[in-house]
Amino acid sequence: MTEYVSTTPGLYPLPDWAKDDLSDLKGHQKHDLISGDESDGITAAYEDARKDVIGVQQDAGLDRIVEGQLRWDDMLAHPLAVADAVETRGIVRYYDNNNFYREPVVTDDLEPTGDVASELEATVDRTGSDDLQAVLPGPYSLSDLATDEHYGDDGDFLAAIAAFLEGEVDAFPAHETLVLLEPSLVENPPADGEDARASEAIDRVASATDADVVVQPYWGALEEKVYAHLLDADIDAVGFDFVANQDDNLYNIQEYGTTDDVALGLADGQNTLVEDPEAIRDRTEWVEGQLGVTEFETVYLTTNTETFYLPYGKYVAKLEALAEAADLAEVTAA
């Protein structure tokens, strides 16, 4: 029988009080952003904010708890932005959004930092490991967001990023799920040959953990070949952004099959309109119905994208809707 798991891909908005406090503590300029060696005051503010967003998830009744990635000023580029071998340069546009991050330029051999692991340790201190979900950029997206001035070859650079992320995962505390976010697989799809390398890179990071691994591309559906290659990686679930593109995602699943578990991005992480839990449940059933005989072991119900795009109150409401939708789906299935 299918298990329905409510979760999110993390990268939450800061609570409004923390937006104000951290603006005052850190400032508004490029050089004021997180570099991994912040002061005690800043650390304490983030600690309080983390407590808030863990509480939001627990109160909503989500089945997986993320750290929230509130320190990720550079969004998915964060793990590189705090690495020694990386210079953060100008402000560049974050995908097709009205958001910007510091361009991370890799200038030397990449070494894991343990930065994300320490965030997860702090989360475990509050929640335990049972429901913990770790979040990282997928290696393809992270290499796409960065600039290489050291490795000199796209393939070598992607492999170096994969090894870097593998090292980060090695340091993680025990966790239930690892989500690798891969919007670049949709937004800037790998060419022939590169698609196989992207899959190998994902495989390498996924192999570093015993937890279930979800790879979530978004802002559309994967090109067929990219999708087929992704299925070659040793992962437990692929995520599908049904908000941005329903038809092509269904086509991919029907044509190529999918993993035993899936993540369905059914709540819009970039729109304040809060979905009805019943509607999310109905769409879940509809997707399952389209696939005929397939019964998934686990279906993750999630927002399609990160949620930092939303005002805080709406982000909370989205989480509540997802948690309720998963409960409804369990009841219907039973």
Partner: protein
């Protein structure tokens, strides 16, 4: 050659035969006391009330309009002293919008991104009071900048419409209604600001369609400009020449005119409001430097089609720097006009000649 639409703004006492209209994009640094007055107004414990706050904004609008006059600008703006942010200001005045709190743009820079939760409707006038006040405070022509419907749609959450294009066109009809009221009040120079087009240049078709809605029944003599900030202009040119506007206001100084050639072929058939001062560099360009920048514009259009302005709104600059840029810009424009009168400027216009291989 004459340009009636532009020449209606030529001052009666303009000395030179040539006329390079000088103006600003819109926003200007707020006096520090205005920000302090706002803090007081928002402070529940303060007795600084609505009337006090209104008076402070009036004073600031008068002050900056006067500052634009002192700098010598031919067409002035109040520096947008009454506006907080370019989407929020309008969203507060349009039925159908609601606010749910700040969202991140980058780092700790936030924006109160509104949500469209029901059909957008025209309620109270947005800018007529602002225009009438400024027109009253100055003898010079006043330009009215309005955030364009594409930007109003794209920088909002859309909960109510099938897609953003539909919302854009609905908002365009509201902008049209507002311009009609502004024209009735006497406005003759309207600038539509579409900064969102810079980040999504492939959407130029919907911006053009929206402009068709915006200009319905607006008299020919009313000057309509379109301001687009720095972006990859090659992706919107020459398509934008089809837009029903009189003038394009472009940010080119910031990129050191590296995109100038884009506009040379095919020929630029509208008026060019050329950015001649960088709005992001807090250093006043010399008169000589600005003269050289103005001459860059003459590579694209003849003097009759040239308007001179800063790259973008200057609100983030220190006020004295903003003033210095305006004053030098006007002086430079007058110098170039005199040189043109004297036949001392020889700029080759049009498509760049390919280099010999």
């Amino acid at each position: 050659m004459t340009n009636e639409n532009k020449d209606q703004f030529r001052p009666a006492d303009h000395d030179n035969d040539h006329f390079l209209l000088t103006t600003v994009v819109g926003s200007y640094p707020k006096p520090k006391w205005l920000n302090r007055a706002k803090d007081l107004y928002e402070d529940a414990d303060s007795d600084f009330d609505e009337d006090n706050w209104q008076e402070a904004k009036d004073d600031a609008a008068r002050l900056i309009t006067d500052e634009h006059e002192r700098a010598g600008l031919d067409v002035v703006v109040d520096g947008e002293m009454r506006r907080n942010e370019m989407v929020e200001f309008f969203a507060h005045r349009i039925e159908g919008y609601e606010f749910n709190g700040p969202v991140k743009v980058w780092g700790h820079n936030y924006f109160d991104k509104p949500s469209v939760v029901s059909e957008v409707e025209y309620d109270e006038s947005w800018l007529v009071d602002e225009y009438e006040f400024t027109a009253d405070a100055s003898d010079r022509p006043v330009k009215v900048p309005i955030t364009g419907p594409y930007t109003l749609a794209n920088w909002s959450f859309n909960e109510a419409y099938e897609d953003d294009d539909e919302l854009t066109l609905e908002l365009a009809d509201l902008v049209n209604e507002e311009i009609e009221k502004l024209v009735d009040a006497g406005a003759r120079y309207i600038q539509i600001d579409e900064p969102a087009l810079a980040t999504t240049p492939d959407d130029h078709a919907i911006v053009g369609e929206a402009l068709e809605h915006i200009v319905v029944d607006i008299p020919e003599e009313v000057r309509i400009g379109l301001h687009v900030c720095y972006g990859d202009y090659s992706r919107i040119y020459p398509e934008i020449l089809e837009f029903p506007v009189d003038e394009f206001d472009l940010e080119l100084a910031n990129g050191d005119y590296d995109q100038l050639d884009v506009f040379k072929d095919p020929a630029f058939t509208k008026d060019l409001a050329l950015g001649v001062c960088d709005a992001h560099v807090a250093e006043v360009e010399s008169v000589e430097q600005i003269e050289a920048n103005i001459k860059k514009g003459l590579e694209v259009v003849p003097p009759e089609q040239l308007v001179v302005s800063p790259d973008c709104g200057v609100k983030l600059l220190p006020r004295e720097v903003a003033y210095g840029k305006m004053a030098n810009m006007v002086e430079a424009a007058r110098n170039v006009e005199a040189d043109l009168d004297a036949g001392e400027i020889d700029v080759e216009r049009g498509a760049p000649t390919p280099a010999d291989d």
